[in-house]
């Protein structure tokens, strides 16, 4: 056991060194700059949601941002360094939680420590938390904690704490809302228990949202729910790179149509998965499948979305995570070096020769192609053997067939757009 702790501590320290270097040499650019601006607005008594696109997340993180501004004024440190402390701290806590999770699953201490380090030393988590400065690891920490508590039969209070923590996670970023149905339908629990979970989650979200809704109802809702993401990753990025070949244009004119079409496909696919996973005991696998479907089907993806699946895949000890991480790293290099080298390289960004260097578009294309293929294969591998169609009752079978048909029909507009883009790339 002592050896396992030593491995864990050594890995965390190594990661802290790498993360520290990236954080200190970073710049206040991109999302971090927006975070600073949103915090300044709140501290000036203005609802940050009244500035469209500045703060498209649920309200909770703006309080962390504001506290960080106060802290940086007090300590005299840079905002961009201090704001990155929180996601990095969350990454360390996730690592420890994964270790605890695996030990609870009776995994030997050394393999448990090594699997935990796959998270903290993963280039995806390092780049997102330390270079980019996004806070998705805070959300992931809360999701994993919520799963841990809900699946812990020993503690009764856990059943009350789990929905509250999930509600807090959704109040940081909206993405765990897509796995809320999996939480509700997981396991063999009574209807009142499921209803209580939903109620507690909604009350938590409601309490956090109310002040902002009272200040400016319309602006708050349109900022949070009107944001559909950007086509920076996934198959949309592959299409974007192909489009670039026409005349060096790096915005996909069909991105809006692709977003709308893929949103419908994802909702249908996710509904199908929720039906298929209802009543099953493996909550982590259910959540992982929904996230993987999202990354495979939905076109509006940002860099940080790749992080969501990592802790879930690691807890399930799926080796495909290594292929996925490698592909994601490749895609990240292409994305950051072409579009935003200052996010990845901080003050050393000029070594790549400036923005929009065409050779990095090639890395962006192949990286995203690999990442999308790796995600799709991971999704299929996880789904395989998980769903037993024959065991479903006749009524459910009909529903599953109907949803499957609808899902594949919903892919037709996406395929049409893909063909249209491929054809146009030749004009």
């Amino acid at each position: 056991m002592n050896k396992a702790y030593l491995i864990l501590i050594f890995g965390i320290l190594l990661s802290v060194l790498i993360r520290g270097f990236l954080t200190i040499t970073g710049l206040e650019v991109g999302d971090v700059k927006n975070m600073h601006d949103a915090a300044n607005m709140l501290l000036s008594g203005i609802n940050p949601y009244t500035n469209p696109h500045l703060y498209p997340y649920p309200p909770l993180f703006v309080f962390v941002e504001s506290a960080t501004v106060i802290l940086s004024n007090f300590l005299g440190g840079s905002f961009h360094v201090l704001i990155k402390l929180w996601p990095n701290l969350a990454d360390i806590l996730i690592t420890l939680l994964i270790f605890k999770f695996l030990r609870r699953e009776k995994v030997e201490p050394i393999p448990a420590a090594l699997w935990s380090l796959v998270y903290i030393l993963n280039p995806v988590t390092i780049i997102i938390s330390s270079a980019h400065g996004q806070f998705d690891s805070i959300v992931s920490l809360l999701v994993i904690l919520s799963i841990y508590l809900l699946t812990d039969p020993a503690k009764k209070y856990s059943r009350f704490l789990s929905p509250v923590i999930l509600g807090i996670a959704i109040s940081f970023k909206a993405n765990p809302a897509m796995i809320l149905p999996v939480f509700l339908l997981f396991g063999k629990r009574s209807l009142s228990e499921r209803a209580r979970f939903l109620l507690l989650t909604c009350i938590t979200i409601g309490i956090i949202f109310v002040p902002f809704l009272l200040l400016n109802f319309k602006a708050t809702l349109s900022s949070v729910f009107g944001y559909s993401g950007v086509s920076d990753f996934g198959y949309a990025a592959v299409l974007r790179a192909l489009w670039y070949q026409i005349n060096a244009e790096y915005w996909l004119p069909q991105a809006g149509d692709l977003l709308s079409a893929s949103k419908i496909s994802f909702l249908l696919g996710a509904s199908l998965l929720v039906i298929l996973t209802a009543g099953k005991d493996n909550l982590i696998k259910g959540c992982l499948l929904i996230y993987l479907l999202f990354l495979t089907v939905f076109s509006g993806q940002s860099a940080q979305y790749s992080l969501w699946v990592l802790p879930l895949g690691i807890i399930l000890r799926q080796k495909w995570i290594f292929t996925y991480s490698f592909a994601a790293l490749f895609a990240y290099f292409g994305f950051y070096l072409f579009f935003a080298p200052e996010l990845l390289l901080g003050q050393y960004f000029q070594i790549v020769g400036g923005f929009f260097q065409p050779e990095y578009m090639t890395i962006y294309f192949f990286g995203n192609l690999m990442l999308w293929a790796a995600t799709l294969i991971w999704f299929i591998k996880t789904l395989k053997g998980w769903v037993d169609f024959k065991s479903l009752n006749p009524f459910l079978k009909k529903i599953v067939i109907a949803f499957t048909a609808l899902f594949f029909i919903s892919l037709i507009p996406i395929l049409n757009l893909v063909v249209e883009i491929l054809k146009a790339s030749g004009d």
């Binding site: 070949q245 026409i246 005349n247 244009e249 050779e359 090639t362 294309f365 491929l422």
Partner: protein, 149 residues
């Protein structure tokens, strides 16, 4: 499995080669270019996602400068004629860079072929409005080519 492999090959072909081979709208058609002394386009040009591999291959196999000079010229003609103005700056820059080397080397064959290149570049330049950015970029390539003589 065989069908899958065929599908992959066909998709790769469509994605990478169709764009540069069939659909592009040319300012001059190939026979017009041929009548000016132009031979043929390169299969991979600076707009292609495969272009960095072509550059790496040139370095690995140490392709001689005079051959690279002809390649860069054909790429420039492709980009200028297909109106891919977003890539024109890069294509002109690469062409001027290798032309500078050729000026220093005083190669007789290159000198002899310069007049043809000038004619083609003049024709391509005139396809753009006078003093527009692409016009100026092609003029820069033209000025450098004239120094070969």
């Amino acid at each position: 499995m065989k069908c899958f492999k065929k599908g992959v090959v066909l998709t790769l072909f469509l994605v990478f080669f169709l764009p540069t081979a069939v659909f592009a709208k040319d300012y001059l058609n190939l026979s017009e270019l041929n009548s000016l002394g132009f031979t043929n386009y390169e299969s991979i040009n600076s707009n292609s996602l495969l272009y960095p591999f072509k550059k790496i291959q040139e370095k690995i196999f140490r392709v001689p400068d005079n051959q690279i000079f002809e390649t860069r010229f054909r790429e420039l003609v492709f980009i200028a004629n297909k109106r891919k103005t977003g890539f024109l700056g890069e294509a002109v820059g690469s062409y001027i860079s290798i032309t500078g080397k050729m000026i220093e080397q005083q190669d007789q064959d290159i000198k002899n072929g310069a007049q043809t290149k000038i004619k083609i570049l003049e024709k391509l330049r005139d396809g753009y409005p006078a003093n527009s950015l692409p016009w100026i970029q092609i003029q820069q390539a033209l000025d450098t080519t004239e120094r070969l003589i």
